[in-house]
Structures are given as structure tokens and as C-alpha cells.
Amino acid sequence: MNMPIAPSTSSTPATPATDAPAEVVESQAFTVDALARACGVAPEWVRTRVEAGVFFGHGDAGSWHFDSVTLVRARRILHLETVFESDPQLAALTTDLIEEVARLKRQLRAFGVTVP
């Protein structure tokens, strides 16, 4: 789940803004361990999903690297697996469909269609 970035109710007043140095995550920057950490799972969860073709890594087996798009996909699959106790392949199929719908919506917007 993402944290809300819009201001939300809080028990204490918001603190003054502090500068937060930002670093752009370059392509294929996530190792197995980094992807696992970003998803909050054990590295084994990542390895088994790559071996099962649920998502893909660049490079040689065992020392894969992943890009930002794969991080989003992996978190989506993890959410579906966790909430619905689904088989990883079913979670991947659902994610494929979610990604396809998003792609088609982008195309519709490109044609000037208002998409909710």
C-alpha cells in the first residue's frame, strides 16, 4: 500500500518542511535484495517469482536486476497474493490485466477521450 501524500488528519500539527535530498532510481537499480526490501519480503519471495516467470529480471540467473516498473508490478502481485491468498500465477494474471487496462486507458487519452 502506498502512503497518502496528500495532507491527512494528524494528532499533532505538521512540522515545518524539511529538505529531503532526492535521488532518481536509475534503470535496473534494484538487486534481488533491494527489490525484496522495497517490497518488505524475503529475497526468496523474489527469486521464486522470477523463476516462475511471474515477473522478470535482467541479467544472469541469481544475480538479477530490476527496474522501477518491476517494483510496481511486484508490489501489486504481493498485495493480491496477501489479500486474496492467491496463487502467484493468478496474481500475475490479474496484474497483467490491470497493466493492460492502464495501457489502453493511456491510448484512449492519447486520442482525446476522457477516461475516468
Partner: protein, 328 residues
């Protein structure tokens, strides 16, 4: 803090079986799934469902919660303080904490913070409580989305974002705190990419580093242009004479004004590429290209001169077949 009626959140009775709770949670999770739901508060509702499920699907937490629910003022939304030692006799592991995804009610009763409250010495980070003081564990990463204009990707931008986190104050109470972060977004970012704010996730413990905050970049829809990776696509309308005879057209692109030479001869679907005029490169990645999608736009025949011009055009091409494939 406000009392939370978790049964109401999941829309089940107090007599609901664990299977009923599981079904109700999944039903709600499907309804408020962030990729599907169009409800403005889908994110918050999903967080409420997760919280209710976390308590009611755990037999020990549920039993403790049921006992607590019998207290006076234990009504949804009412101000509530648990009695001392309310959880005596129940054993449940800590959950959640520090992500800002849980209510004060949950954090106070079931969160990692709850155990920190009972432990000696406030101020102790609660990401790893229960594992002993010698265990080092890095803080978990947090995730959020940040919406930018495509123009921001050309120029860089600054955004003020608010993130929530839970901590324990000097009196040992759980406090959900909102922090404002001023984030400088460098140029060259594209949709789907992540921006890392190092050390802005959950606190680490035992000398291990804090987690990071990862911001997924999204672009606001813009009728003028759209992006695919670092490539940007812009539609440019042409008049019939520009399309057929060729023209030098001035175009306002995301990177500034550009003179585009349109070759003579119209072809539907034709694109012109302006190399390197897409989203700027960053690091070792090259800049994207700007693709101009040419569109034909016709002037209206809403005057005598206009109608005469179209009639003259028709007369000039008596053999022209606009629908050859249809044979009409």
C-alpha cells in the same frame, strides 16, 4: 483517541466466523482495490479494511478487542481510553507501526508502539521491538506516488509532500505525526520511475539504517502532449494546404519553441521526430525524442468565400476518389 468498530468496518456481526471475516475482507478489498476503485477515499478505506482484518483475523487480538469492546464508551467514533492492563491474559505479537497506515486506536492497542509503551523508556524506536536490543534490523521502505507535469520533467521541480508516521512522545504515548518534506525533483524523470528519499522510511534499529521513501512518478494527463518513457508525443494540427504543400510550422513544445519543417504530401499517421527534444537524459541515459503527430484540420465552410473555396477544390479534382476501398 476514537474507538474503531472493526466489525462495522468489515460489515460483519460480532458472531462472524473467521471464514466470514475472511470473505468480508476480500469483498471489501476488491471494492476498494487501488487499481480498480474510483472512490476518492479508496486508499483510506483500504487502510481501514486492512486494520480491521489484522485485528479480527487474529484470534488473540480479536479476543482482546472483544473484551475491550465491552467497556463503556466503546462505540465507533467516540472518544475512548483503554483501562490499565486491558490486554492482561492475551498474547499477541506486535503489528504495523510507523507506516502511517494505521489509526491511533490501532497503534495504541496493537501496534509496535503499544509494546514500546509498556517497555521501559519512551523514545525507543518500535520497528523491531520484541527481537531484543541486540538485533539490528534496517527500517522498512515506504512507498508513495507523486504526480508531476511533463514540463517538470524538463525543468526539474520542487514539491512539498506530507508523510505520516507514528512515534512515541516523551510521555510514552503514540503520536501520529505528519511531516512535510520539501523534495527537489531533478529533470529527466519519467513516468514509472522512482525517486528515492534516503532515510525517510521506517527507522532502523540496533544501528541499522533507516528505510527509504520511494516515490513513484506519475504524469498528470495533458491534452497537449503525452510521454512514453523519455519520448514525448505531441499532436500538431495542419491546414489542408500546409499538409499537401509542406510548410514551416512553429510549435510550442515542452522544451520550448521549435521550427518544424513539414514535408509536402499528406500521409495519415505520419510522425516527425525531433531527436533529443524529449525528456532530458539523466545519468548515463540519453534524452528522449519528441514525436510530432500530424493531424489534418479543415477550415469551416461558414461563409460564401469558404463555400466557394471548397466548391473550387472539388471542381479541381473531378476524378478524386475519397473512398476507394469502399467502392463508392
Amino acid at each position: 483517541m476514537e474507538f474503531k468498530d472493526y466489525y462495522k468496518t468489515l460489515d460483519v456481526t460480532r458472531a462472524a466466523s473467521s471464514e466470514d471475516i475472511k470473505k468480508a475482507y476480500r469483498k471489501g478489498a476488491r471494492k476498494y482495490h487501488p487499481d480498480v476503485s474510483k472512490a476518492a477515499d479508496a486508499h483510506a478505506r483500504m487502510a481501514e479494511l486492512n486494520e480491521a482484518n489484522e485485528v479480527l483475523s487474529d484470534p488473540e487480538k480479536r479476543a482482546a478487542y472483544d473484551t475491550l469492546s465491552e467497556q463503556p464508551h466503546a462505540r465507533d467514533g467516540q472518544d475512548f481510553r483503554p483501562p490499565p492492563h486491558w490486554d492482561a491474559g492475551f498474547e499477541f505479537s506486535d503489528a504495523g507501526g510507523a507506516s502511517g497506515e494505521y489509526s491511533d486506536f490501532f497503534e495504541e492497542l496493537f501496534g509496535r508502539a503499544a509494546r514500546a509503551q509498556r517497555a521501559p523508556g519512551p523514545g525507543r524506536p518500535f520497528d523491531d521491538l520484541g527481537e531484543g536490543p541486540d538485533v539490528a534490523r534496517p527500517g522498512s521502505d515506504h512507498h508513495a506516488r507523486i504526480e508531476l507535469d511533463i514540463l517538470d520533467a524538463y525543468t526539474g521541480a520542487e514539491r512539498l509532500i506530507a508523510v505520516r508516521s507514528a512515534r512515541i512522545d516523551e510521555q510514552g504515548h503514540v503520536v501520529n505525526q505528519e511531516r512535510n518534506l520539501q523534495v527537489r525533483i531533478p529533470s529527466g524523470v519519467f513516468e514509472g520511475q522512482h525517486i528515492r528519499l534516503a532515510g525517510r522510511g521506517s527507522p532502523g534499529y540496533g544501528g541499522a539504517p533507516d528505510g527509504d521513501l520511494l516515490l513513484e512518478v506519475l504524469f498528470k494527463p495533458d491534452p497537449r502532449w503525452r510521454a512514453e518513457g523519455r519520448d514525448v508525443i505531441q499532436r500538431v494540427p495542419l491546414s489542408p494546404w500546409e499538409a499537401m504543400l509542406g510548410a514551416a510550422v512553429t510549435v510550442e513544445t515542452p522544451g520550448g519553441r521549435a521550427e518544424v519543417s513539414v514535408p509536402p504530401g499528406w500521409k495519415a499517421g505520419r510522425k516527425l521526430r525531433l531527436k533529443g527534444r524529449g525528456i532530458p537524459g539523466s545519468g548515463r541515459s540519453a534524452a528522449g525524442d519528441l514525436y510530432i503527430e500530424l493531424e489534418l484540420t479543415l477550415p469551416p465552410a461558414d461563409s460564401n468565400e469558404g463555400r466557394a473555396a471548397y466548391e473550387a477544390l472539388g471542381a479541381a479534382f473531378p476524378a478524386f476518389q475519397p473512398r476507394p476501398s469502399l467502392g463508392t
